[in-house]
Symmetry: C2
Subunit: 464 residues, 2 copies
């Protein structure tokens, strides 16, 4: 928090120091900041001051810090830096970042930059990069890190510590150590806490936990992140199809996956294609592209509501009140539907509800919608008499009845559509969040208007 308040001052300070060529002072100031803050600071210098000062400041970072800051930057800045790097600088950065971060960067870079990165990587690293790149985008394999500490069953606690001390410095987490056999098959888990609290001569095989929860490289990354969250694990082992340990997902990667997936769901529910760029950095053009399809679909699908209104012209002509209530009925239907759909979509996303619960869900929504429908209809009746004074006009009570019956039916139907569609989407392997909007809105709009006109026709048909 303190950093955010100081950011403006720091930008100014660093820029002045660069002009004064006081490089040692800059180096000391920067070395006191943490990588995510440094990335933000350099981003400000790059955009608000100039590119040269930004490059000078970046090059003043120590090797390790430079690599950590590089990982935190957005892909445009990373590309700019790689273009500016000498081969040696690129090699140094690549040596100091974790392999899963390298893969993340490669996925965002244009082909010529990828070729340069590959050229500066060691042959073993290239093989591993290519392996991770092959996992599908949303799989556990694509977010795992392959840098973990492995132990053998036959080691003692003292030997395990010796191994951790030897290999630990390059590993993303050393606190969960995985016990594997010579064929990389996962045998157990040993935490550093277990090791620290045990006697130095204890055998790992006596200490390790053998009941280890794991996921597969092809498991959905959101499912993997939720598994980690459910058990409160620090890391989750990832096995390949032959049950060999190939990597781990750490808690910080899981937090990122959860946040990203939530963002995507939010944007989908609002009828926007997801993007992973922060709003202020998203271009006008990509905001336009993400939003325009849904607006178009909604507009075109409104042809149906238009057709319904046109064809019931004579019935609606009985009173302007009937027309005047269309927005209220459609609005209530839309809102009632989205209350149900968002609740169900989230329950599916959290693994609380599955397709086999469909009947339970429908039964629950049916009862809730009956309660809601009756309450809202009665309130609506009151409003029509008290505010709109409907009893003073011709056929006023009959019109009020039409409107209230429609409200009741609309709320029940909207809730049922709202809970069934996401479940159907799930069973058809579609994303429940995408069907919610504008699909459900359109269906509920059409249904509620049809009900409205049908009831009006039945009760007021003789008058029209």
């Amino acid at each position: 928090m303190e950093f955010l308040e100081e950011k403006e001052n720091l930008v100014e300070q660093i820029t002045e120091l660069i002009v004064a060529k006081k490089y040692q002072t800059i180096k000391e100031t920067l070395s006191e900041l943490l990588p995510p803050d440094l990335a933000e600071l350099l981003h400000e210098i790059q955009h608000d001051v100039n590119k040269e000062d930004f490059l000078i400041a970046f090059r003043l970072l120590s090797k390790e810090l430079a690599a950590d800051v590089f990982v935190e930057m957005d892909s445009d800045t990373q590309e700019l830096l790689i273009q500016a790097f000498s081969d040696k600088e690129l090699e140094e950065v690549l040596q100091n970042i974790f392999l899963d971060d390298t893969v993340d960067i490669i996925e965002e870079m244009p082909a010529n930059v990828v070729r340069r990165i590959m050229r500066q990587s060691s042959p073993e690293m290239r093989i591993m990069i290519n392996k991770i790149l092959k996992y599908p985008d949303d799989s556990a394999g694509s977010v795992m890190t392959i840098e973990y500490v492995s132990l053998r069953e036959t080691m003692t606690v003292a030997e395990a510590f010796a191994r951790i001390r030897k290999v630990g410095i390059d590993k993303e987490t050393i606190y969960n150590c995985y016990v594997v056999d010579s064929g990389s098959k996962l045998l157990g888990l040993c935490t550093v806490k277990n090791l620290l609290l045990a006697d130095q001569n204890t055998l790992i095989s006596d200490l390790m936990e053998t009941n280890v929860v794991s996921v597969n490289t092809l498991t959905d990354k959101e499912e993997a992140a939720q598994t980690l969250g459910k058990y409160g694990f620090m890391a989750l082992p990832v096995l390949d199809q032959e049950e060999r340990l190939v990597g781990i997902i750490t808690y910080d990667d899981a937090i990122e996956v959860i946040q990203d997936e939530n963002e995507e769901d939010f944007l989908k529910l609002a009828g926007t294609s997801p993007t992973d760029t922060p709003y202020l950095k998203t271009s006008i053009w990509s905001l336009f592209k993400n939003r325009v399809p849904w607006l178009l679909i909604l507009m075109i699908s409104a042809t149906f509501t238009g057709m319904i209104i046109s064809s019931y012209e004579t019935t609606l002509a009985v009173s302007i009140t009937l027309t005047a209530c269309i927005p209220m009925i459609m609005g209530t239907g839309g809102n009632a539907g989205s209350q149900a759909s968002v609740t169900i979509i989230r329950s599916i996303a959290l693994g609380e509800v599955e397709f086999r619960d469909a009947l339970k869900v429908i039964w629950k929504e049916l009862r809730v919608s009956l309660l809601l429908g009756i309450t809202i209809s009665v309130a609506c009746f009151g409003k029509l008499l008290l505010i709109d004074k409907l009893h003073t006009i011709d056929n006023g009570m009959l019109i009020a009845l039409v409107i209230c019956l429609t409200m009741l039916a609309t709320i029940i139907l909207a809730k049922l559509v709202g809970c069934i569609l996401p479940l159907l989407a799930k069973v058809c392997h579609l994303d429940p969040a995408v069907v919610a909007n504008p699909f459900i809105t359109t269906i509920v709009d059409v249904l509620s208007l049809l009900i409205y006109c049908f009831i009006a026709m039945q009760l007021l048909g003789g008058i029209a």
Copy 2:
């Protein structure tokens, strides 16, 4: 994943074993499961089989496991268990769970159960519980744990390890150790990784990192969780108003906070009051209570749209097409508005956008809405001619012009309202997610109808 597939079988197996009184076998079967899975399994036995079998199964768990499983259960089940516990059983469970979990449980229990819990707690524990209970519901203090490992500057690495070995077993995490002075002032951070990779005689003061990011007990818990996520920390120290270290927030608590807050935002956006019970366990009555206020507000506020339509009766009477297009215009406006509002609400929640960015945001949305407005209007013009054959009716082209101009104006206005209102809510210290719905929908509905009727009046006034 494997557990979920086996759950049904396990329930059956355990129930049969209870009938056969094979308690030792049950004990062994249960001890192989992890606490969250055990909680789920016992929940199934409680609800689908019977309460007695559930209590028998729970009592067969080892003390430590029973405490871990207890923490994972929902509050109804916890209450049932506490009622069934002897004083000794309750004391044992309380001794084996972390203090922050005890506080979470107390917050959900009725007064008589809270009194029993307090009676079974040690006097020191009671003081600490009361202290944590005093922090506001959404503060970092309310989610922190007070069980952390503290070190002194003057210790050597070997002494630090001795201390971790001595106190570590009861601490939620031992991997981040905090260096404090005699007044509990936070001086630095030492990870177990640092300790393991250092020489045994190194002084903690030489090893510790002094630039430690911390939050205050009164910091919003979501902000604290995001700070932890941003830096990828395993734990985040929490200081009181006098800058003394009073607790830490661990990564697993942070994941929970992030998930809970996201759920709340989802439900608020859908016009439902948030609840922390899983959907299938939420009662009909509380679903009703959470949903009815928004539906009522929306219905009542629709009085305005009704009034507008009534008062422009003669203008709308020029052609049924004008009435038939009302749903399309309001739908597009609502959708355009929520695209903007949800994007901005999320950007605010993630700390990407603040009130001081208001002008940037408005300028961005203005340009995007112009692009979108022109595209949709042109497409709408095409639809009106090709699908609705508007050029074949009287004044058709003029009516098409009214509709398309309204679409353009509505999209621009909806986007502006959608981005300004959440920012205003933020600056007024209101929750941006709550104003989004049904507030923005209603305002956009009224505005778009007013524009529609106004433009129709101007262009078609002579005809009506």
